[in-house]
C-alpha cells in the first residue's frame, strides 16, 4: 500500500523519466540510501528498547546472570521509597524550573525584541550559558553555593548573616539545583519566544495603535494571544528536557542529603551502573520512557495544530 502511495506521488517524475526498465530492481537498490542509518537505528535504538522491555522482566546483573521474574521489578519499584521519592523529586523539579523558564524567557524576549546593538549584546549574554557543558555549569555554581568561601556565603557574611549550606540542606538542595538549571537553560525559551514575536503580524500592532491601545493593553490583547502556541510548545519542550535531570544532581549533591535531590534518571543511573541491578534499572527506565512519551505526544499535537491554537 505504501508503495502504491509512493507511486502516486511520483507520477510527475515518472513522466520525466522515459526509461524505467528494471524499475523493480532499482527500487530495491534505493534502499541502499537509507540502509546505513537504518542499520544503526535498529541496532542501537530499536533493539535496546525492545531488549529493555524483555530485560525489565528479569532479575539481571551486569555479568550475565539472568532469571525471569515477570513483573516483580515493577512491583518492587512501586514499593521502593527511594524510587517513589525520586519520581516526586522529578515532578517537584519540573515545577520549580519549567514555569520559571517560560516566564523569564518570555519576559526577556519581550524586553529584547528590538534591533538595537544593546539588545543584541544582551541576547548573546543570556544565551551564552546554554553552550557550556553540564560539568562546567555545576563547577561554577558549586563555588557560588559553597558555604565555606562561596560567592553567596561571602555576600551573606558581608551583610552580617550566617552563610547557608544550600547543597547540604534537604529543603534547599533541589531549589539550588533548579536555580543552576534555570541559569543554564534560559537561552532556549528566550530564543523560541523571540522567534515567535517576530512572526506576529505587524498589522495587528498598527490596528491596536489606531485604537489607542496602551502598552499593557496591546501586550495583553495582541502579543500574548498571538504566541499562545509557542508558549505551549516551550512548556512541553522544557518538561521533556527537565524530566531528564541528571548531571546537575549527580555532580552537585549526589542526590543527597537523604535522597532529597535524587531525580528519576539519577536513580536509574545508580541502580544500573553502580549497583548493577540491571533488570531493575531498566524497569525504572520504562517508567521514564512512558512519562516522556506522553509529553512527546503532547508536543506532536501542539506542533501540528498550526492555526487552531
Amino acid at each position: 500500500m505504501s508503495a502504491a502511495a509512493g507511486q502516486l506521488s511520483d507520477l510527475g517524475r515518472a513522466r520525466a523519466q522515459p526509461a524505467r526498465a528494471g524499475a523493480q530492481q532499482s527500487r530495491w537498490s534505493h534502499l541502499l540510501y537509507v540502509a546505513p542509518f537504518l542499520f544503526l537505528y535498529v541496532t542501537l535504538l530499536v533493539y535496546p528498547l525492545f531488549a529493555g522491555f524483555w530485560l525489565s522482566l528479569h532479575k539481571a546483573d551486569f555479568f550475565g546472570g539472568s532469571r525471569f521474574v515477570g513483573f516483580e521489578n515493577f512491583v518492587r519499584l512501586s514499593n521502593d521509597k527511594v524510587f517513589i521519592g525520586a519520581v516526586g523529586n522529578t515532578f517537584y523539579f519540573i515545577l520549580l524550573t519549567v514555569p520559571a523558564l517560560a516566564i523569564i524567557g518570555l519576559g526577556l524576549a519581550l524586553a529584547l525584541n528590538r534591533t538595537t546593538p544593546t539588545a543584541a549584546f544582551l541576547r548573546g549574554v543570556f544565551f551564552s550559558s546554554s553552550v557550556l557543558s553540564v560539568t562546567i555549569v555545576t563547577l561554577l555554581w558549586k563555588v557560588v553555593f559553597a558555604p565555606d568561601g562561596g560567592f553567596l556565603a561571602n555576600l551573606f557574611e558581608a551583610f552580617g548573616k550566617q552563610p547557608v549550606a544550600f547543597l547540604s540542606n534537604a529543603d534547599l538542595a533541589l531549589p539550588a539545583i533548579a536555580i543552576t538549571t534555570i541559569w543554564w537553560c534560559i537561552g532556549l525559551p528566550m530564543m523560541l519566544f523571540l522567534a515567535a514575536l517576530q512572526q506576529v503580524p505587524r498589522e495587528l500592532y498598527e490596528a491596536a495603535a489606531l485604537d489607542n491601545a496602551g502598552r499593557w493593553k496591546t501586550l495583553w490583547s495582541v502579543t500574548l494571544p498571538s504566541i499562545r502556541r509557542t508558549f505551549a510548545l516551550v512548556i512541553i519542550i522544557e518538561v521533556v528536557l527537565q524530566f531528564q535531570l541528571f548531571g546537575q544532581a549527580y555532580l552537585m549533591t549526589q542526590g543527597g542529603p537523604n535522597n532529597a535531590s535524587r531525580p528519576l534518571v539519577l536513580f536509574i543511573f545508580e541502580v544500573g551502573f553502580t549497583r548493577w541491578d540491571v533488570g531493575y534499572a531498566v524497569a525504572a527506565g520504562q517508567i521514564l520512557f512512558g512519562l516522556i512519551a506522553i509529553a512527546a505526544m503532547a508536543q506532536y499535537f501542539v506542533a501540528r495544530r498550526k492555526e487552531a491554537f
Binding site: A16, W28, V34, F37, L49, S133, L139, F151
Partner: protein
C-alpha cells in the same frame, strides 16, 4: 523596525528605561558566576584557602593556568572531545543526508511504513536504552574507543527527520531537469541537491556538535579509561574530589580552560548556533 517591542507605538520613555535597567541587572546576575570562576582561577590556592574574598584584590597570578599547561590531562581530553564531536557530526550529516534523500525522493518497498517507524524513534529517550546499549557495546568491545563514543549519537533519528523535510521542500523540477541530462540518481543527489541543503547541514552539524561536546552520561559510562575521557567527563572527574586535592584556583582554571573554546566558537558563530539550537527544538 526599530521598536517592534511588545507594546507597539506607545512611549519609549520611562517604562522602556526601567525595563532596560532590569534586563541589564539580570544580565549581570547571568555573568557573575562566570566572572567569579575567572577571578578564583587567577589566585593561588593558598590564598583562597584563607579567604576567597581576596579575589577582589591584587596580586593575581596565571600560575594555575601554567600548571594546567605543564601537567594535566586537559589537553588529551580536549583532543578527545574534538575527535568525538567532529566525527559524530560528520557521521550524522552523511547518514542523515543519504537517508533524507532516500525518504524524500526515492521509491522503495515499505518506504512510508519505515519512515513512520523512524519517526517513532524521536520519542525514545536515551535513558530508556542506555543500559542495554552499554551491555551491547561491552559484548562488541567498543567501550573506550572513539567509535564507541560516536556511534550512539548517529543512531538518533532527528537528523533524518530534518533532512527529509528539507529535501521534500526542494521542487522536484530540479531533479527532473537533471534527469533529462541523463544524470544518475546518485549524481543528482551529490552534485545537484546536496549543495542546496547547506543551511540544513549547518543547523544539523552545529546542533550535533554541541550535543556531542556537552554529552555527559554516555561518555561517563563508555569512556571510562582516563585516556579516553572527553573534556566534559574529565572536568567532572576532577570536581568529584572537590577542592581537596588540586585546589580551588586550579579547578577553576580548568573550568575556564574547558569552557573558553566553546564560548569563543559561540562568539563567532552566535547567529548560526542560536538558529541551530532553537530550530532543532521546535
Amino acid at each position: 523596525m526599530t521598536t517592534q517591542l511588545s507594546s507597539g507605538a506607545v512611549g519609549r520613555g520611562l517604562g522602556d528605561r526601567v525595563i532596560l535597567a532590569a534586563t541589564i541587572a539580570l544580565a549581570i546576575v547571568m555573568v557573575l558566576p562566570m566572572l567569579w570562576a575567572v577571578g578564583l582561577s587567577l589566585k593561588t590556592n593558598a590564598e583562597l584557602l584563607v579567604d576567597t574574598n581576596s579575589v577582589l584584590k591584587a596580586p593575581w597570578t596565571l600560575r594555575n593556568y601554567y600548571d594546567i599547561l605543564i601537567g594535566s590531562g586537559v589537553f588529551r581530553w580536549l583532543l578527545n572531545s574534538i575527535i568525538v564531536s567532529v566525527g559524530m557530526s560528520l557521521g550524522v550529516l552523511a547518514l542523515s543526508s543519504l537517508a533524507g534523500y532516500g525518504f524524500a525522493r526515492l521509491e522503495f518497498p515499505g518506504r512510508n511504513v519505515i519512515f513512520v517507524l523512524v519517526l517513532f524513534g524521536l520519542a525514545i529517550p536515551e535513558q530508556a536504552v542506555i543500559l542495554v546499549r552499554h551491555q551491547l557495546f561491552s559484548d562488541l568491545n567498543l567501550h573506550n574507543t572513539y567509535a564507541g563514543l560516536m556511534l550512539p549519537g548517529m543512531s538518533a533519528p532527528f537528523g533524518v527527520f530534518l533532512m527529509t523535510q528539507y529535501f521534500k521542500a526542494i521542487p522536484t523540477e530540479v531533479d527532473e531537469a537533471a534527469m533529462l541530462d541523463n544524470a544518475s540518481r546518485f549524481k543528482i543527489f551529490w552534485r545537484v541537491l546536496l549543495p542546496m541543503t547547506l543551511p540544513a547541514q549547518a543547523t544539523l552539524g552545529i546542533f550535533t556538535f554541541l550535543h556531542a561536546w556537552n554529552d555527559y552520561w554516555w561518555p561517563l559510562v563508555s569512556g571510562t579509561n582516563e585516556q579516553m575521557y572527553t573534556l566534559t567527563v574529565g572536568i567532572a572527574s576532577t570536581q568529584m574530589n572537590f577542592a581537596e586535592s588540586a585546589g580551588l584556583g586550579y579547578l577553576m582554571a580548568q573550568a575556564v580552560f574547558a569552557g573558553l573554546p566553546i564560548l569563543i566558537v559561540y562568539m563567532f558563530f552566535q547567529k548560526y548556533i542560536v538558529r541551530a539550537v532553537s530550530g532543532a527544538a521546535a
